[in-house]
């Protein structure tokens, strides 16, 4: 594999547009590729890719490989894996960048096992080692209490990057690139899983990833009801706000899983993050470190959250929060 060259980004798209993680992956790939004189290629595989190849080029890809097949949308990971494996065999990339996403977390370990190479998941930074032979990937371990810089001698380097951790380059619609469409040759006979039904659990209101203000509750909230009342009342004061939660409320069904924030939930980066009845476990905080301001309400003065928040009140949220919301409402009206 000594001739391996190029950085392959496993792109993701939704409703005919690149999702933001794809732009972030292209951004870091472009940077690494420029520093090591390589090309950036991007795979876009879905039922239909529409205008996304041009978009990927504008965000830094030199080559785009497209695969269009309805099975890519509905068939599950084993369909996707076949396309990726074939492409890797054909172009033997030096590195493959995936997202720490629904797709990437399912694809990357399987790919690593098939290729017998190293995989570093959940990367928050990628850089070249000084002699440009490897990628040094930084990832949090021990729930974010420690960071590890990892590399490998084996090629291709496989990395999965956390969303919102890397920056896209500025979109340049005049960039030129080459688009190649792959024939999706899918062997259905090897597929032993079958999606019987896909259920979408509707979450009304602003998406967590898009919210400027997040009012998040933890186990200390005590039940489902306050998420719809006390916490929602605060969220209602802002045009772009949503309620969120730590893992226990999602596990206990107080809120839908889509509200679960953290290492195993969603990664968010609002301007203001309210952590209410949340102890501040590192695995939770891993999902909101990008927040500009963290405000904590917790009845335990020793709670870890007070080491991580910018502002706080010690007290029962049932007493503190309604008064806070009330006061803020009148201040905002002034």
């Amino acid at each position: 594999m000594n001739n391996s060259k190029g950085i392959l980004v496993i792109g993701e798209l939704s409703e005919g547009k690149l999702v933001s993680i794809t732009k972030e992956m292209l951004g870091i790939a472009r940077k690494l590729a420029d520093e090591s004189q390589q090309d950036v290629s991007c795979l876009l595989a879905n039922e239909s890719v529409q205008q996304t190849p041009q978009e990927a080029i504008a965000f830094g890809a030199d080559k785009v490989y497209t695969a269009e097949d309805p099975a890519l949308k509905s068939g599950g990971i084993y369909v996707y894996l076949q396309i990726v494996e074939k492409l890797i065999a054909d172009i033997s990339p030096w590195a493959v960048i995936m997202g720490q996403t629904y797709l990437g977390t399912r694809l990357s370990p399987r790919l690593a096992a098939k290729l017998g190479v190293n995989l570093t998941t959940d990367c928050v930074d990628l850089k070249l080692d000084p002699d440009k032979k490897a990628i040094i990937a930084t990832r949090p371990i021990y729930g974010g209490n420690v960071f590890a810089e990892l590399s490998s001698d084996l090629i291709p380097h496989l990395v999965a990057v956390r969303s919102k951790a890397m920056s896209p380059i500025e979109q340049d619609s005049s960039r030129k690139g080459e688009v190649t469409s792959l024939k999706a040759e899918i062997d259905q006979s090897v597929i032993k899983t079958k999606i019987v039904k896909s259920v979408k659990e509707e979450v009304t209101g602003v998406k967590l990833e898009d919210a400027f203000v997040i009012v998040a509750g933890g186990r200390g909230i005590g039940g489902a009801e306050p998420f719809k009342t006390t916490l929602q009342d605060l969220a209602n004061l802002f045009p772009s706000a949503a309620t969120g939660a730590s893992r226990p409320p999602a596990d206990d069904g107080w809120v839908p899983e889509a509200k679960h924030i953290g290492l195993t939930g969603r990664i968010v980066a609002p301007d203001i993050y309210f952590a209410i009845g949340i102890s501040g476990a590192s695995q939770h905080m891993a999902g909101c470190t990008g927040s500009k301001t963290v405000v904590a309400i917790n009845k335990d003065p020793e709670a870890n959250i007070f080491k991580l928040a910018n502002y706080g009140v010690v007290g029962k949220y049932e007493e503190v929060l309604p008064a806070f919301t009330e006061k803020l409402k009148s201040l905002l009206a002034e």
């Binding site: 209490n145 420690v146 590890a148 490998s152 899983t193 910018n310 803020l328």
Partner: protein
């Protein structure tokens, strides 16, 4: 179908609830302070609970499997105490320093040695390094189908019907056996061990397999078998100064917080 053979993989880790101050980086190792107790990884416990539920409803045999060195007996025997039928430990100094690649290679060898299995369960992600790789890597090496981040497993007409958590809901997926599933927290916490179970487990000895028992070459496991090189470990210096708003009553403190955030032009 009855009498399924199930294997549950779990990993011994330092208690993840330990405060950051209990962790220290020494060179290329993370050292936990001695008062931090080892525990079974949380998601590995969720996985064991799923297997126990299946055993409870249709019967079967559960083999718990863990790789490490100097594993704490009270930690690993908990699996027996809650209802696992067998405990196999891959316990050898040679496994010291294994990364996920080496770990899944050795676990795959052990599972081949066990030979008969219908279902394998892993946690979605371990509590220490949290890579989220071992389960899917194992399935790929064994050539069996897998679904990750699963919260529910039913056995229907000789197949598994599982619920996979997705970013906006869930998928119901039918899977041919043998299969591997990685289990997420919504599956539910591991049951408590009854006293009777604890006492019975105390009398039992786990089966120990060394690297050589699995026909593994030293170059494939432990530090030598690593493909993931640690260049550096460090602890982030992240403590922010928290401004605590105090007042006579909690309600006044709440109102005070609103004023403060407004003054600081944060809201």
């Amino acid at each position: 179908m009855s009498g399924l053979n199930m294997i549950v993989c779990f990993k011994q880790v330092p208690d993840p609830e330990a405060p950051a101050s209990a962790l220290k980086v020494e060179g290329k190792e993370v050292i936990t302070s001695p008062d931090i107790k080892p525990v079974a990884d949380e998601y590995g416990e969720f996985a064991l609970e799923v297997a126990l539920k299946i055993k409870g409803s249709i019967g079967g045999k559960i083999t718990a499997l863990s790789l490490g060195n100097n594993l704490a007996r009270d930690v690993v025997k908990k699996s027996l105490a809650v209802g696992a039928d067998e405990l196999i430990l891959l316990e050898d100094e040679a496994f010291e320093g294994s990364d996920n690649h080496a770990t899944s290679h050795a676990l795959a060898a052990a599972i081949r040695k066990i030979g008969e299995y219908d279902l394998i369960f892993c946690g979605r992600q371990s509590s220490d390094w949290g890579v989220g790789q071992v389960g899917l890597s194992l399935a790929t090496q064994l050539g069996i189908p897998a679904v990750s981040v699963v919260r529910k497993v039913d056995i229907v007409e000789g197949k598994a019907r599982v619920e996979e958590v997705t970013p906006d809901g869930y998928n119901i997926i039918d899977v041919e056996l043998p299969a591997l599933f990685t289990i997420t927290s919504e599956a539910g916490a591991l049951r408590y061990a009854a006293l009777k179970g604890i006492m019975a487990a105390a009398r039992r000895q786990p089966t120990i397999w060394k690297a050589a028992d699995l026909g593994l070459d030293p170059s494939e496991i432990g530090t030598q078998g690593r493909v993931n090189k640690i260049n550096k470990l460090y602890q982030p210096s992240s403590e922010v100064k928290c401004e605590i708003v105090e007042a006579d009553t909690p309600a006044e403190a709440g109102a005070g917080l609103a004023e403060k955030l407004r003054e600081a032009r944060i809201l």
